[in-house]
């Protein structure tokens, strides 16, 4: 047992403690739950940092910590011992999960300060971290799958956290079932790998080692099946429909699970098997096309959302599309770089949105209204009331839009550059379009939330003051986390990913990850000129998006004319875009409804036909029994009774012979003797 297991053990114990409190129905002071959960996260983050330090000190090619444990079963496959492996790839996500996770836990202590079930909430949140760490640290596809389903469970628990609202329960179930469709692909991919490629083993080492020399067809098929799994978890088309609904969960959950960590698990899987995808160009093309299509689809949908969290949800889908595109362009490092920066800035955006929602909710409370606190239309004018939140949100927008300096600028450009180099202009242009739209919808949300003149601005300011008075510490904790994250967003980009085209050296993160993601892969470096072209074009798109957003929404009155013009041109697309271009409806019509029909059909068949046959056989048996009974009664019994009746009737007749007179008897005797005499003489002759 290496110390690495502690990283999973801490949150697991935290979850167990808070879970036990929840099940026991104990109601200790709120800080007890907070202390348990935060201590667990602090422990996990410490382990992560320690592991990273150990790794950094090791030579570049030998950065690897292995923490073995028990084997599920004796033998290969599920039979390899479970182990945790910290290598540069898993260490990166290890740090992101624990550090961002810890920050979000701190935020959650403020955000959930008035909730009725803190024990259940923090138990699930800690459990999620444990499962997520198992996912990224596990040494094999099997451990990954354990973590994979574990995070799915926690996602289900937390989306449906406020389960008394049936819509939340439905959203939770939708997320789980849609993910299960992806899991089906993952399972079959694992089975195919075990059968045809690795000969039973499922550890990443074995899969990569044998896969590099395996039969191409089986490998490609297995890799495509794994993409289905990745697409489920990472909300890629067409399995993306669960993520917008998942926003039913509390906002810290959206930030941690449905933005920063869990949804990037698919990208992690692709990166982990990056060297194999490099050998299967068809599988890679599938990933790239899927990513580009999802990025564009979700970006278009995000521009039409009227709910702040749904904007961010579609934005997450779109960004995950970029990550897929990067992986599909053979630039796993770039994709992972985007995973890291996205974790920071999307967490920042969600948490800032959480503060906003909190404030609007409080304002509603003040005004005695019962509106939707997440509706963009009911926001505005919050800049004065939430100055730090505004700045943090702006940093987030800046980063996701890919404006210079901020984190997204470097990571997104790395992806776009690789796409251009590998797949050429069509996919690049689609992606650049999506990048421009990203800038548009993010700044749209920024302006709608924070622009100056809005009907409810004064009310919101009032509400924030009230909030401060009621639980100032909670509010300060939340905003404090925002500031920390915003700082990280500003630092992370240049620190980790200054591109080679600018510095002449490989980006830090790329160099760090290379032993894992590029093991055994010969990769032609993209020409720097092409990279600079890509950078310039995407920057232009981002600026254009921002400019358009500013013109349209920065000022209610001034943008009105332009909005009219746009509405007349594109207005008819707005409603479909808001509904994700009918994908949900299509799923309901083409999958859910037929499934329900099929299920009741089969159940009817079971009752009517299968059981009916049984009933028929039973009826026939009863009929046969009746028939045999009838034969018994009328034929067999009839014969017996007939004989009896014959005897009785015969007896009645014969009775007459008994007259009682002696002379008659004597006469009969004499006649008898005579008859006998005659008969004997006749017989003798």
């Amino acid at each position: 047992m290496s110390f690495v297991w502690l990283a999973i053990l801490f949150p697991l114990v935290g979850a167990a403690l808070n879970g036990a409190l929840a099940v026991a129905g104990a109601k200790p002071p709120r800080w007890v739950h907070h202390a348990i959960a935060l201590a667990a996260m602090a422990g996990a983050a410490t382990v992560a940092i320690a592991a990273a330090v150990v790794l950094v000190q090791a030579p570049h090619e030998a950065r690897r910590l292995v923490a073995p444990a028990w084997a599920l079963l004796p033998g290969p496959g599920l039979r390899e011992p479970l182990a945790l492996v910290v290598d540069p790839l898993s260490a990166t996500l290890f740090l992101v999960i624990t550090v961002v996770g810890a920050l979000i836990h701190v935020y959650a202590t403020g955000y959930m300060a008035a909730d009725r079930a803190p024990a259940r909430f923090f138990a699930a949140l800690n459990l999620f971290v444990a499962a997520m760490l198992l996912l990224v640290l596990g040494s094999s596809l099997v451990t990954l799958f354990f973590g994979w389903e574990g995070v799915g469970l926690c996602s289900w628990l937390l989306i449906g956290f406020w389960y008394e609202e049936p819509a939340n329960a439905r959203a939770a179930m939708k997320a789980f079932v849609v993910n299960r469709i992806g899991d089906l692909g993952l399972l079959l991919g694992m089975a195919l790998l075990a059968w045809r490629v690795t000969g039973g083993a499922l550890s990443f080492d074995a899969v990569v080692a044998t896969g590099l020399h395996a039969d191409g067809g089986a490998l490609t098929a297995a890799l495509v099946l794994l993409v289905v799994g990745a697409a489920g978890k990472s909300a890629q088309l067409p399995l993306s429909i669960w993520l917008p609904d998942a926003m039913a969960g509390p906002t810290p959950v959206s930030a941690l699970i449905h933005a920063a960590t869990m949804v990037t698990a698919g990208v992690y899987l692709l990166a982990r098997l990056g060297p194999l995808y490099a050998r299967a160009p068809q599988a890679m093309l599938v990933v790239a096309i899927l990513g580009a299509a999802t990025a564009l689809w979700a970006a278009l949908a995000a521009t039409a959302q009227s709910d702040l969290k749904r904007v961010l949800a579609y934005s997450t889908i779109s960004q995950l599309g970029f990550m897929f595109l990067g992986a599909g362009a053979g630039a796993s490092e770039a994709a992972l770089f985007h995973v890291v920066t996205h974790a920071l800035f999307k967490a920042l955006l969600f948490l800032a949105a959480g503060v906003v929602i909190h404030a609007v909710h409080e304002a509603d409370h003040h005004a005695g209204e019962h509106g939707d606190p997440q509706a963009l239309a009911r926001m505005g004018g919050l800049a004065a009331a939430l100055p730090w939140t505004r700045r943090a949100y702006l940093v987030g927008c800046w980063a996701i839009a890919g404006m210079p300096w901020a984190a997204g600028f470097f990571s997104k450009d790395a992806i776009l550059g690789a796409t251009l180099a590998r797949h050429g202009w069509p996919l690049f242009l689609v992606a650049t379009g999506a990048a421009g739209l990203t800038s548009l919808y993010m700044f749209r949300s920024y302006y709608l939330v924070f622009r100056a003149r809005a009907p409810r601005a004064a009310l919101a300011a009032h509400a924030v003051e009230a909030l401060d008075k009621k639980d100032g510490a909670a509010m300060r904790r939340m905003v404090g986390v925002l500031v920390v994250l915003a700082g990280a967003v500003l630092v992370a980009g240049p620190l980790l990913g200054l591109p080679e085209a600018l510095t002449g050296r490989a980006p830090v993160l790329e160099h760090w990850l290379a032993p894992v993601t590029s093991a055994g892969v010969e990769r032609a470096a993209a020409p720097h000129a092409l990279e600079l072209v890509a950078m310039g074009l995407s920057l232009a798109a981002a600026v254009a998006g921002w400019a358009l957003a500013r013109a349209l929404w920065a000022d209610e009155a001034r943008g009105a004319a332009l909005r009219e013009t746009l509405a007349s041109a594109f207005g008819r697309f707005e409603a479909p875009a808001r509904d994700g271009f009918g994908l949900d409806a299509l799923a309901a019509r083409a999958v859910v409804a037929p499934y329900r029909r099929l299920s009741s059909l089969v159940a009817g068949f079971d009752r009517g036909v299968v059981d009916g046959i049984v009933a028929l056989v039973a009826m026939l048996a009863r009929g046969a029994a009746w028939l045999s009974g009838a034969i018994d009664r009328y034929v067999v019994d009839g014969a017996v009774n007939g004989v009896a009746r014959l005897v009785v009737a015969g007896g009645r007749r014969l009775r007459r012979a008994q007259t009682g007179r002696v002379n008659t008897y004597v006469l009969v005797v004499v006649l008898g003797v005579l008859l006998l005499g005659v008969l004997t003489t006749l017989g003798a002759r």
Binding site: G150, G160, E164, M173, V614
Partner: protein, 643 residues
């Protein structure tokens, strides 16, 4: 109730009478008439005596049985009346045999003739019991003893009946623990064997023993039986009769899992049937008679078909001897049928392309498939479950269904490996159909118990698919699934029972928001449902994934179809879970909230051991596999080899 009592008593008397067939008194006396197998390098002594009034000529002493490494010094002499001779039996070592015996070939004409021997060659037999231990006998008959005690108690004696019932099932748990501690997972063949002649005229033996699979099933039966007994404490109608029948049922189940004699197996199989019929038919719900008769007829059809198979196998079996050496033209001995029965493959064709082995295989398959239950022979299950009291549902799903796959392993695969290989694709198809069909039906159910019943159909389909795959993973998966499904589904039926006790309905749509009233119950409910839908980390996953990984190399498309069961399972489990537990508390439906207290101590006590098993075996299934690895591998090798 008198009739039930009478039936049970009659059955007992019959069993006793049949067992006590006395031996004829001839000249040859052997003391003792049975010896314990000596340890390797050890020795056992016997005394032969002429108890008659004429000289007795002893021709020789034969050793029968498999490779026990037994040796006897040659002995040829004539004993005068009253004279004795000493006989030493040495053992050099070798495998622990399932059976062994000595034959004293002599001219005592009261003894049976030696097959193929001369007119003067008669056989006196000495049983060599391989480490004979009465442990399994006690295990099997302890519940029956309890039943007798309950029936003999005067008056209604309800508390007494409950106490005896709990003591007997608890005793079974203790004895099972003892058996497990003595069981050597590394050894081959049957262990804890007890072997004696039962009905000499019919060549039936009392032959019990356990291998890895059967001891697991015995453990499952003991556990589920004890928990069902706890659950039965709430039965308050005809308490004595209930407990007596319950305990007879326990004996039947345990006996089926330990029997190594086909006839004995069949007897226990039947012993199980009747109490089940009464338990459903007398203590069940509103349509109990219908359900009970349906159950009875279905399983009766299965039994009759199986009986044909039993008789067919018997008459096709090779000649040999009973455990005490008595020569026998045929045998019911499952171990010998499995080791010497490969001639079945070459026997004449019966119906066109079908050989004898295939026809007999099909007969047994029908019998076992009804128990599994495999689609389309499953419709007794939902009705039986819905009407049965909770404890009986638990037994039914937790143990009885397991006898189907167990029988397929014990009889079909072990005795008829060639036919099993021939039919494997068919078994796999039936399994895959059951998985998908059961899941689709489950989704449409409005009654929670029916839903759980159909989920059993779906889950047991994995056992068939795994068996049909003929791969190590597939078989181990089927085996793991067998045990884990027993645990999980017992939990599910207990949980449904808990809800029914409070609400007096099981209609899913009348519930909602139960979690807000009964949070502890909701937690366990969620755990059980998640385990049932195959969440990794909980025990339901291991079996399913092993089966899928194991059957994929054998049947790609079929496995893909079966794997959709994973999605369908998520759909119906979560749908039911959220409709019952989540949402707003359905206040309009219920008079007052006090009607829904959280789990009581007794309920928690029943659920806790199962929940712990679900968690532990989900992360650490190694011990479970280790128990049966050897036994499964042995039989699988025979099947894969087709002989």
């Amino acid at each position: 109730m008198v009739s039930v009592k009478r039936i049970v008593l009659c059955a007992l008397i019959l069993c006793g009478a049949a067992g006590g067939v006395a031996e004829a008194a001839g000249r040859l006396r052997v003391e003792p008439s049975a010896i314990v197998l000596p340890p390797a390098g050890g020795e056992a002594r016997l005394t032969l005596r002429n108890g008659g009034d004429r000289p007795l000529r002893i021709a020789r002493i034969d050793v029968t049985g498999d490779q026990a490494g037994l040796r006897v010094a040659p002995l040829t002499r004539t004993l005068q009346p009253g004279e004795t001779a000493q006989l030493a039996v040495r053992r050099d070592g070798g495998t622990t045999p399932a059976f062994a015996g000595l034959r004293v070939v002599c001219d005592d004409e009261t003894l049976p003739a030696l097959p193929g021997g001369g007119p003067d060659e008669r056989v006196g037999a000495v049983a060599v019991r391989a480490g004979a231990t009465p442990l399994l006998g006690w295990l099997v008959f302890l519940p029956l003893l309890g039943a007798l005690i309950i029936l003999l108690a005067p008056g209604s004696a309800e508390r007494f009946a409950r106490a005896v019932g709990l003591a007997a099932t608890g005793g079974v748990v203790v004895l099972t623990g003892l058996a497990l501690s003595r069981f050597d997972a590394g050894a081959r063949g049957a262990q804890l064997v007890d072997h004696a002649v039962w009905i000499r005229s019919l060549r039936v033996e009392w032959f019990v023993g356990v291998d890895g699979l059967s001891i697991t099933m015995v453990a499952l039966t003991a556990l589920v039986g004890f928990i069902a007994a706890l659950s039965s404490l709430s039965i308050d109608k005809n308490v004595k009769a209930y407990w007596a029948l319950f305990l007879v049922l326990m004996t039947g189940m345990l006996g089926t899992f330990v029997a190594l004699d086909l006839f004995l197996f069949y007897v226990f199989w039947e012993v199980m049937l009747l109490p089940m019929y009464f338990l459903i038919g007398l203590w069940g719900g509103p349509r109990k008679e219908y359900a009970a008769i349906k159950f009875f007829l279905y399983t009766l059809v299965g039994s009759v078909v199986m009986l044909l198979g039993v008789i067919a196998l018997y008459y096709a079996s090779p000649a040999g001897s009973l455990v005490d050496g008595t020569p026998a033209a045929h045998t019911f001995d499952l171990v010998r049928l499995a080791s010497e029965g490969r001639g079945f493959a070459t026997t004449p064709r019966l119906f066109g392309a079908l050989g004898f082995a295939e026809v007999v295989w099909a007969l047994f398959f029908v019998g076992f498939a009804i128990k599994v239950p495999a689609v389309p022979l499953h419709t007794w299950l939902p009705d039986a479950h819905v009407e049965a009291p909770t404890a009986i549902s638990v037994i039914l799903a937790g143990v009885l269904l397991k006898m189907g796959p167990y029988g397929l392993y014990r009889v079909n695969a072990a005795v008829l490996p060639g036919a099993t290989k021939w039919a494997a694709p068919f078994v796999a198809v039936v399994g895959a159909i059951s998985i998908v069909y059961g899941a689709l039906c489950a989704f449409a159910q409005k009654d929670l118990k029916r839903l759980v019943a159909y989920s059993s159909v779906s889950h047991m389909g994995f056992c068939l698919l795994g068996l049909g795959a003929l791969t190590t993973s597939g078989w181990q998966g089927a085996y793991v699934q067998l045990f884990n499904h027993g645990v999980i589904t017992s939990m599910l039926f207990l949980l449904v029972g808990v809800l029914y006790d409070r609400a007096h309905t099981r209609e899913i749509d009348r519930f909602g928001g139960v979690a807000s009233q009964m949070p502890r119950y909701a937690f366990v409910f969620g755990l059980a449902f998640m385990a049932s839908l195959g969440l990794p980390g909980l025990s339901g996953f291991i079996g399913e994934v092993l089966v899928l990984l194991g059957s994929f190399p054998s049947y790609r498309a079929l496995t893909a179809v079966a794997a959709t069961g994973v999605v369908l399972a998520a759909a119906y489990h979560l749908s039911a879970l959220s409709r019952v537990q989540l949402g707003k508390w359905n206040a309009a439906q219920w008079k007052d909230r006090a009607q829904f207290p959280d789990l009581t101590a007794r309920e928690a006590l029943m659920l806790a051991p199962l929940a712990i098993l679900v968690l532990v075996l989900g992360c650490w299934p190694q011990p479970l596999i280790a128990l049966s690895q050897g036994s499964l591998g042995e039989v699988l090798a025979k099947v894969a080899g087709g002989r």
